[in-house]
Symmetry: C2
Subunit: 466 residues, 2 copies
Amino acid sequence: MELRQELKPFFEPETVAIVGATKGIAFGAGLPLCLSENGYRDRLRLVNPREKEIIGLPVYPDVEAIPGKVDLAIVVVPAPICLPVFQACARKGIKSIILEAAGFSETGPEGKKREEELKEFARQAGIRVIGPNCIGVVNTANRFISTQVPQESLAPGPISVVAQSGVFGNIILDWGPENGIRFSKVITIGNRMDVGELDLIEYLADDPATKVIVLYLEGVQNGRAFLSLAARVTRKKPILILKSGRSEVGRKAALSHTGSLSGDDAIFEAAFRQCGVVRSDDFFGLFDLARAFSVASLPKGRRAGIITSSGSMGVQTADTCVNLGLTIPDISERSRNEMKKIAPAWMSIRNPLDVGPSGLFGEGLSVILSDPDLDGIIGIPVLPSFVAKEFVRQGVPPASLVGNLPKELLGPGGKTLILAPIGNRAWIEILREAFGDRVPIISSPENAARVFSALARYREYLEKTK
Amino acid sequence: MELRQELKPFFEPETVAIVGATKGIAFGAGLPLCLSENGYRDRLRLVNPREKEIIGLPVYPDVEAIPGKVDLAIVVVPAPICLPVFQACARKGIKSIILEAAGFSETGPEGKKREEELKEFARQAGIRVIGPNCIGVVNTANRFISTQVPQESLAPGPISVVAQSGVFGNIILDWGPENGIRFSKVITIGNRMDVGELDLIEYLADDPATKVIVLYLEGVQNGRAFLSLAARVTRKKPILILKSGRSEVGRKAALSHTGSLSGDDAIFEAAFRQCGVVRSDDFFGLFDLARAFSVASLPKGRRAGIITSSGSMGVQTADTCVNLGLTIPDISERSRNEMKKIAPAWMSIRNPLDVGPSGLFGEGLSVILSDPDLDGIIGIPVLPSFVAKEFVRQGVPPASLVGNLPKELLGPGGKTLILAPIGNRAWIEILREAFGDRVPIISSPENAARVFSALARYREYLEKTK
């Protein structure tokens, strides 16, 4: 069967059995209600020999007692009784299982043996398995989830994530919404006894809702296959990675966490570069990259313009840019003349362009966005909150605080623009409202420089391998 | 006069004149009302020849018309008319001026000449001046401010900041409160025509409310004097610095921003290390250091223990620690046995200690905080929000989600503990409530590693130079 068809039930199941559904307090206990609220009540089949009814739905003693076809089973029973559950699933004709239980290869030899048995059984029965030791799948498009997540995290977005750790999946789904991160699909694969990152990268590469693929792995299954797949996919959409296990200690810890062998770091580093995969050193930096790669145009070169209302942050950002191999050229004669027409006498018209308290951030941004000598712009808007409040009180629309920019200057086809505001939440919200979906809002000026550099290098990679 | 006495009116003025107070919309217009609300109504003298009354207070045509003594003048008139204002201040016997106007040396030769004139006049008249091109002083202890700031930012704390840029001062005061940063004093010195960082470091070194001195400079006035002063002060309290202007472009930009010459970076780097000054490469990292240095004990060595409920973040943090020259030793036999008594079978008892969904974060933290083989602990508590909500609904007190730790394990004298939670705001707030003033809450796990390394190196510096 084609991979896309084979994995479809994990993302768009027609009927879902939850094996181990319970009324008690336990991992997965909230899932039936959540799925029901998300529109899956009619497609939900609950299984537990010790329950009769949960949230008003009948509970079956085992999967074989369920009338009709079952597309996908979410298995939340303890590790030692998973094999009989798998056997029942096979008899029922279920071809897709999300196995969430922990207690397998990550715990040592005994767990490893248990995982091997299950794996072999699933292989022979032709069952595809995500897990164990994971929380499975979240698909915002149809609100299908195999784990309890906040409703806010189901607002659809362009970022898809493949992670090993279930907890990591939960964290980013909790953390994302307040931080302007919206997901298409989040898949955690745990010990990946069957479905691994290779299958999922392949699947997401063809998924039109996914603009960026984000990976958090503690090691890759098959280095050679990963690299050749990645080289193919990165021509179509960006792959971003936070790969841990770089130090000796990290490698040992990764082994005990998800049973991963994470290999020599220098080799991975070089290999990632060769196949166009963009790597981040830290968690928040990874999602800054995801924001930018899902929205911003790629800069045609490394020439960055910086505009700010805080001179110090302009200096600081210019430094970071230069250290990353970007250039901060002078702005063009034409831009200089444009600015001279509107700027007060005290403003020094240069790159970085510090508009200070002139209120000309929007106008200045318009001017340098059209500058032919700059490949992209980093904007660092800051505004003391008492000033912002006063404007809002006077009925000035928030967007105009940072300029009502012509649409053709922004988004795909326009010039690269990255914003890194600093201030309180109200200020960040004003900027999200003004620029939200068309411009990436990055968590710090220094990370904006890192993001610019990564975008420029990705474009260079695409040019070089064309 | 002793420096402390000389600078006192800037922080604890008995009467304050605002020269250029106005009812209109202008820089500084909100200040009279704010100072009045902060308890300075009786001590406030407003000056403007074109106003009669502001917020119910009489307005004097010039400072000489004010009855009685004036301690401090805040001057917000435009640059070209500052000299006559200074002359009037001298005649009135005012010895301290905060000069907020821009339009001086940062704008070019003409402004520089104007600044030189004022400077020479003030020197001859024996007037101390903060500024120009700044927002002056915020002192949370007595709520004295020379600029409009949000009320929340006036909650007193242990961090004092000296910055050049006024906007930078505004940003951190807006940004701080929501991010767990509380200030003692914030002083922006702009073009520092008289009072500079040397005076202020000296002042803050003897200020009992200041536990940590944070500097954001685009260059130092007098390198040799700075280093000898810093070497003396860092023996008493930490000095943290974000120094921009490292690249050629940054240096040029710094020159136009605050007229600073920022010099060769490698020299500064080495010099900072030699005098125990702790340097940060980025804005948020600077305040992570400030949080930690104002609260945490210094670790006795470089051996870090890591405890987390997210295995992946444990691996990621261990990597960062090792890359920074810290070690992640095995936990002691005793700790291992303690943990074995309470841990479920699946838990792998090692460093990093991943307690997963066991709910044993608090217990594990207690155990490794007492481990003689570890010099300090980085905790990365994560908890899916639906779990946290369920606990709270059941009336479980937030603090117990992360363990009710014995007080003697925390704070001064206890072992170094740094927390870097990831999650939504509600989760971060739970941790702030549980640990708030006794444990630094750091913005990312990777920065927690950086902070640990900086604390350890600072202690090494103190030992070495004892």
